[in-house]
């Protein structure tokens, strides 16, 4: 006859098994949904392009070669894929500049919000989230209405006689940056605000008591303490900015491709799905490497600052 202990153990085992069985379907779905599409992209990147879109089921590493190298169609020499590098660099640079711009705007905004009274803070937080109520496309078109030649800015400038002809802002890099900074600003403000809200402002007072300059207080006290928020915000802005599609197309006029346009071209008019897949994975790898470097760096400094 089983002892009470054995019975209890068996019951526990059953319990554990039951939990696994019950959670298995959910786990399976998550696993398949997360890795399935990704696997297809990986597999496709090693196939040959079909004649009119789609893929041919035969192994080929051409797609990967042409991500980095290109055969000149005129003199047949193999060289670094200058066009791809240019486009990659344009996207990375834009994402970087957007991150800096949102940081420059977002940090003071978050500071302002965090230093308000408890009640008004909620109001400010609420105001920051308002743009999220509207679709990205519509927000981008709203920016377009503001900066276009017959738009609000130019109309005012013309009426005031500051300029004699409309300033061409639309379809320039400035236009893209304005749009991107506007669209991604909340993603920067919210994490910084979350850190800032927890900040003990007595530390700031203590800093002033010890004759620290304003800059020193900002740099030695506030910034290290809200750094996790700054890092989280930067990641949240940088990654989607790297793949931005709608904003650069609408405000930049589509003359110069971004990464996302290049990938879209391969799946659309270019009809080279394997190359599109290989490019997508390359972007993922870039993001992953950047993220790892960031997180490691952040981890180290986190220890240093206690």
């Amino acid at each position: 006859m089983a002892t009470a202990e054995e019975v209890a153990k068996a019951a526990e085992r059953r319990d554990v098994r039951g939990r696994w069985l019950l959670s298995a379907p959910a786990l399976l779905v998550i696993l398949l949904a997360a890795t399935g599409p990704l696997l297809i992209v990986v597999v496709y990147s090693f196939l040959a392009p079909g004649a009119y879109g789609d893929v041919k089921w035969q192994f080929s590493s051409d797609a990967w070669t042409s991500v980095f190298l290109e055969r000149d169609i005129f003199d047949d020499t193999l060289s670094l894929a200058a066009a791809h590098v240019t486009i990659f660099w344009r996207s990375i640079r834009l994402a970087g500049v957007t991150t800096l711009a949102t940081l420059a705007l977002g940090f003071p905004t978050a500071y302002f919000m965090a230093t308000r009274s408890e009640k008004t803070r909620d109001l400010w937080l609420f105001l920051i989230t308002i743009p999220f109520w509207t679709n990205l496309l519509i927000r981008t078109f709203a920016v377009l209405q503001i900066i276009r030649n017959e738009g609000i800015i130019n109309t005012i400038l013309l009426k005031l006689g500051i300029v004699s002809a409309p300033v061409q802002i639309l379809y320039t890099d400035t236009a893209i940056l304005i749009g991107m900074a506007y669209v991604y600003l909340p993603l920067m403000v919210l994490p910084i605000y979350a850190s800032m809200e927890k900040l003990d402002f007595r530390l700031v007072e203590a800093g002033y008591d010890l004759y620290a300059t304003r800059f020193k207080v900002l740099w030695k006290i506030i910034f290290p303490l809200v750094k996790p928020g700054v890092i989280a915000g930067s990641i949240l802005v940088f990654i989607p900015a790297l793949g931005a599609y709608v904003t650069p197309s609408i405000l930049g006029g589509g003359k110069n491709m971004m990464l996302s346009n290049l990938i879209e071209l391969q799946f659309g008019q270019g009809r080279n799905w394997p190359l599109g897949s290989a490019l997508s994975i390359t972007v993922m790898i870039i993001v992953m490497v950047a993220l790892l470097a960031y997180v490691r760096n952040a981890g180290k400094s986190g220890v240093r600052h206690g």
Binding site: P49, A51, Y52, G53, D54, E70, I73, F74, A82, A83, H84, T86, I87, R148, N149, E150, Q168, L170, Y171, G253, G254, K255, N256, M257, N261, L262, L265, F267, G268, Q269, G270, R271, N272
Partner: protein
Amino acid sequence: MNWKTTATAMGLALLASTGLARAEGVLNIYNWGNYTSPDVIKKFEAKYNIKVTITDYDSNDTALAKVRQGGTGFDIAVPSQTYVPIWIKEGLIQETDPGKMENAKNIAPEWANPDFDPGRKYTVPWAWGTIGVVVNTDAYKGPANTWGIIFNTPNELKGKVNVVPEMGDVMFAAIKYVGGQQCTDDKAVLKKVRDMLVAAKPNWIAMEYNTIEKMGAGDFKATSDWNGSALRQRLANPAIHFNYPKEGYGLWSDNVVVLKEAKNVENAKLFQNFIMDPENAAGLSAFHRYANAISGSDKYMPADMKDAPEVVIPADAKPLGELQKMCPPETQELYTKIWTELQK
């Protein structure tokens, strides 16, 4: 209400709904967005007691990729002439033989036996049009019947020209402008094309589809465009004119096909026949603003289209038009490289 009456009511409702669906019949159309006249659809629904649903797509590539995957539930699609041979070759559409349908006699002779579907065994014409140059004459008064507006932009238009980013169309125009043949893989010609495009790009302001709004607002003063789009622009601003480039311009035509996986084949055939009726074809044109290929439809056309220069090609420009073809995959690859180079 006790459970018995509830059950009976539910049963009856179920019966009614399925019975209704069977009696009426349905037709599922997969077409370009903002392209299908609601009035003509209403007329078709009333005449045959068929319920029509319409789903939009935005490019030939999207439509092809989706139908290839199968299980779409669509009966009808409307691919362009460049894609029709692929749809046929891949067995995606069925031979409904519209060339022998009752209304086939109405197809205009020049569209009755096209290269992409000899004898009209699969397709019924939906719309056709041209791709040319649109210029706002307030900004530029010189001769505009040339691709030079785009590729060798006159000073007045520098920085004000848009190019619709359809790779095939732009390559067609660029090749014509340097004196080549469409779908050429002649490296000497393509090198000229590449150099010319790269040199021309700094004079462009954008590469966008949204031409009607931007030409109207004055963001663009000239653009490459489809004729129907140009017509809408002129109706909004009489200074905007469509031009047929003298180097040669592209013709396109969209065509109604019945999918192999269609569940409502008979209804789809009724629809193919229905839109070849002159009055119905004119109804379609009144909405999408392009010409149809049906003789006798002119007398039902809206007044602003009857002799619009965008729709009715002037006699001297007629021989310059050429139906655009699908280039072979190897050529397409060359074009994609030039295109990437252009937009890098």
